[in-house]
């Protein structure tokens, strides 16, 4: 089961394309797309990279649906 995330919204707020975000994260556009659409959950290092880039905590980007 994949986690929900706010990546698409955060990216749109900054007017970044998937390719631009991919460049900033040093990953492919396909990877950004896969994370946004919930087909892939990023590793912890990539999640931290995202959090640093958006100046948010990981929990503010990703939602743990199993949390109580």
């Amino acid at each position: 089961m994949s986690m929900k995330n706010r990546l698409k919204v955060l990216r749109a707020e900054r007017d970044w394309s998937q390719a631009v975000l991919g460049e900033k994260l040093d990953v492919s556009r396909q990877t950004v797309n896969a994370i946004e659409t919930g087909r892939y959950d990023p590793s912890l290092p990539l999640a931290f990279k995202l959090a640093r880039l958006f100046e948010l905590s990981i929990e503010e980007i990703f939602e743990d649906e199993q949390a109580g």
């Binding site: 460049e23 990953v27 396909q30 896969a34």
Partner: protein, 136 residues
């Protein structure tokens, strides 16, 4: 490292390795058919395509390591499916070869068979994910 750089590094090894492989395979096959060289020299000459395959697979391994985590996961998944198909088929057919008189399939075709299925499976995975992408 960007995906493009990783791909360029892979292609720089892949193309020369495949050219050497193709030329050596045709040359060895021709020499064998023509009885142009003594048999023992053919054994030594087969080292050339084997080394080119090693160079190619090393480049492939390096490429997969240099991909980002999602792209690497997809490549590995497609490779695993390709391997499952080839190993399952080879095991089943090999057993039939031992027990029945089914036609013998040269082991040479295991490699191309793996890459054929790996390529098809990767293409299907990419299509299902709505992505463009190339296998190795």
């Amino acid at each position: 490292m960007t995906q493009k750089t990783a791909h360029r590094r892979y292609i720089k090894v892949f193309i020369p390795a495949m050219v050497i492989y193709m030329i050596s395979i045709f040359a060895i096959s021709w020499a064998n058919i023509q009885s142009y060289l003594p048999k023992y020299s053919l054994y030594f000459l087969t080292i050339i395509p084997v080394l080119s395959i090693f160079a190619w697979m090393w480049a492939q391994w390096r490429y997969v390591k240099e991909l980002d985590e999602y792209m690497r996961a997809r490549q590995v998944e497609a490779m695993m499916y390709g391997m499952m198909v080839v190993v399952a088929f080879a095991s089943g057919w090999g057993l039939m070869e031992l027990m029945t008189d089914v036609p013998r399939i040269p082991i040479f075709f295991a490699g191309p068979g793996f890459y054929l299925f790996y390529g098809i499976i990767f293409a299907v995975m990419s299509k299902r994910a709505g992505e463009k992408g190339a296998c190795l």
